[in-house]
């Protein structure tokens, strides 16, 4: 491991849960409004993961009031309080961009079989 990777690692979080593609997650995101700080929960499907050390991020998609919303969360950011995995999906792709073209029942993801 080179010095750059070691330096990155020091600033990375260690307790991040695995968020597989297709899983449903709740991201607890810290929002600062002036003086006050509150936590907002963004719940949706993980449709992409970027693995890049401290720059790693997940893309979470949800459909809110008929409009698709995607947010990219840098998972090592201190603004992310917690990530909860609520359901694992059975998918055969690493990027679920096809969900963008689907709506309603077709945009469902089968739950992963547990063994």
């Amino acid at each position: 491991m080179n010095t750059l990777e070691m330096y990155e690692k020091e600033h990375m979080k260690r307790d991040i849960p695995d968020t597989p593609i297709g899983s449903n997650v709740k991201v607890h995101y810290r929002i600062i409004e002036g003086e006050k700080e509150r936590i907002q929960i963004f719940e949706g499907v993980v449709i992409a993961r970027k693995r890049a050390g401290i720059r790693s991020a997940i893309t979470v998609r949800k459909v809110s009031a008929g409009i698709g919303i995607e947010r990219v969360f840098p998972i090592h950011s201190p603004k992310i309080e917690r990530i909860q995995v609520t359901r694992l999906g059975r998918v055969r792709r690493s990027k679920l961009y096809y969900l963008r073209a689907l709506r309603g029942k077709k945009a469902r993801i089968r739950e992963k079989d547990q063994y």
């Binding site: 010095t3 330096y7 600033h11 600062i32 050390g53 950011s77 201190p78």
Partner: protein, 227 residues
Amino acid sequence: MSNTILGRKLGMTQIFDHLGNAVPVTLIQAGPCTVTQIKSERKEGYNAIQLGFGERKEKRTTKPAKGHFEKSASSPKRYLREATVSDPDLYELGQVITAGIFKVGDVVDISGTSKGKGFAGVMKRHGFSGFKATHGTHESKRGPGSIGASADPSRVFKGKKMPGQMGNRKATVQNLKVVDVREDQHLIAVKGPVPGAKNGLLIIKKAIKKPQTESTPPPPETESDGE
């Protein structure tokens, strides 16, 4: 203390500040540098110290160079660069300068050799617009267009932006903020990019256009010529 150190670019990454904002940083292996020669007003006509940085294999060092390094009881160094100082008597041969001369919040200027782009045309080198790709354009899509008027002045003005070598020259980025210093690991991190490729030699100086910290003397006052 010295206000200059030599370093090696390790690469860029990002870290998060206390507010949780991502800060782009360049990691630099800064020092340790050995003072290999001291130049003074009396002898050489100007005040400077010569800094050595990076290891060089003994067998790849010429005998004259070995003799030079022996004077400061230093191992052979790969790079030798001069740094101007106001008072050379503050330094001694063999003295080691480390990243500790900087602290978090300092502002520095960093010089290096920019990445070479070869012989580049005007679009890449000077940001010219070129010509339309369609609508009858022929023979010249990336050319410079006119380079001047005709019989008057009958010549092309000096400094006209033309194609030529781009990059691979000394480049300096001023006023970079130091965001992290690890003296024991010889590391410093600055906000933003610095010139050159990874592993390139960098010269890191305290910023000349920003207020200096108390460790360096103020610049000599220029005499005002009255009314």
